[in-house]
């Protein structure tokens, strides 16, 4: 199988999954419909509507980690191609990436010392 065929298979698998889910929904609908009763559609908040709106700004208390995560995630874009050719390149590859990872690790340590790694 060439690459285009492989991705075509994956795409049809995705479409097939959506079709499968739609078939399940159709089956459930054929078994019975929703009986409309008052207050049945209230979200699970102890049976009463929430006083305040739910869609509000959520304090992401882990944002320090999230910022560091961005830096590390970018680094992974370089790591995968490097990992594949690692044995061919040998010691040079180890030293190159060693320096890169050391700089990144120092960044992690600096962030840690400045209190990035805690619930804000």
């Amino acid at each position: 199988m060439n690459e285009i065929t492989q991705y075509a298979v994956l795409f049809s698998l995705t479409l097939g999954t959506v079709g499968f889910v739609l078939a399940i929904y159709a089956l459930a609908r054929a078994i019975g419909r929703l009986r409309a009763e008052p207050a049945k559609d209230v979200p699970a908040t102890a049976g009463a509507l929430a006083r305040d709106p739910v869609w509000v700004r959520y304090h992401a208390k882990y944002y320090g980690y999230a910022l560091l995560f961005l830096a590390f995630d970018m680094e992974m874009a370089f790591m995968y191609p490097w990992a594949v050719v690692y044995r061919e390149e040998g010691l040079v590859a180890l030293l190159d990436m060693g320096v890169f990872l050391a700089v990144l690790f120092l960044g992690l340590l600096y962030g840690w010392s400045q209190g990035a790694l805690r619930r804000q």
Partner: protein, 299 residues
């Protein structure tokens, strides 16, 4: 034909994992229970919460199932028994499983319920904790195999399984995988007894059935990924190849399910702190260590 066999194996595996989970959580071994539960869910009413975000609410479970299936598609069951043997298989697995986060945030945001919302945002924190551990450990696996193709990763372990070659990576990967599949003790988005079901709280009937099925597929995907990356996949004596993959996958799934029963639930802040202060330095050390070994020893 291959696709049909793999889909059948997938359905069977999900069913067995559902039986195992029931056994691990409730302590009862009932091989018919998942079928009865699925039929009961199909028969129930599908309530749409008021003022919900219909698009996110409907797309969440479907996207979760698609993500799980695409992840399974690059896992080999035996030589030749794989949906697509992508050259970038290990990377594709990551990319597919990244949508678990998107799907759960959609499922949390969609129903406009407080518990679901908190469950979704908690999972975002959990994602920041586990994501780096998954990708860094897979990098070390790819370094040894000199390829990202999952079948080549399996054949690279012919002399020695990766679980012995890079044990640190194995432990980190399993812990991160438990976070990804929100298995106890890291089941923050659903958090039974804490969030009234969390992201599952507003789903009923067939939609809940799809959500739970998707979760089983994701558990299976991660268990089989662990078997492929660290336990030598289909490699093994006497038994046919597919039997080894199946046995290893179910053993990993059983270990992950039974482990959580004996541990208290981890808070999101604690999980983040442990994985960034201990996990990531260990994962980096694992990469360097595997790098040195790969240059010195030819296996």
């Amino acid at each position: 034909m291959t696709l049909a066999i793999i889909l059948f194996a997938l359905a069977l595996g999900c069913y067995l994992i559902a039986v195992l989970e029931d056994w691990a959580v409730h302590g009862r071994l009932d091989p018919l229970r998942p079928a009865v539960s699925a039929l009961a869910l199909l028969g129930r009413e599908q309530v749409l919460p008021r003022k919900s975000d219909r698009l996110f609410f409907e797309v969440g479970p479907v996207l979760l199932l698609v993500a799980g299936l695409l992840a399974v598609a690059v896992i080999p069951l035996a030589p030749g028994l794989i949906v697509t043997d992508l050259a970038t298989g290990a990377l594709f697995l990551n990319a597919a499983l990244a949508y678990v986060l998107v799907a759960l945030i959609m499922a949390g945001w969609g129903p406009n319920g407080a518990y679901a919302m908190i469950g979704g945002w908690r999972f975002l924190g959990q994602f920041v904790a586990y994501a780096m551990l998954i990708v860094m450990t897979i990098t070390a696996v790819a370094m040894r195999a000199e390829s990202l193709s999952t079948t080549e990763i399996v054949t690279s372990q012919a002399a020695l399984w990766n679980v012995f070659y890079q044990p640190i990576g194995f432990v980190l990967f399993v812990i991160a995988a438990m976070g990804l599949a929100w298995l106890p003790p890291i089941d923050l988005p659903t958090g039974g007894g804490d969030l009234a079901g969390g992201v599952e709280a507003e789903y009923t009937g067939a939609r809940l059935a799809v959500l739970r099925l998707a979760r089983l597929v994701i558990v299976l995907a991660l268990a089989s990924a662990t078997a492929t990356f660290y336990l030598g996949g289909w490699l093994g004596p006497w038994l046919p190849a597919w039997a080894w993959t199946a046995a290893k996958t179910l053993a990993v799934a059983a270990a992950m399910l039974f482990l959580g029963r004996h541990l208290p639930r981890l808070r999101e802040a604690r999980y983040l702190a442990v994985s960034w202060k201990l996990g990531i330095p260990l994962a980096l050390a694992n990469i360097i260590l595997v790098g040195v070994i790969a240059l010195v020893v030819p296996i």
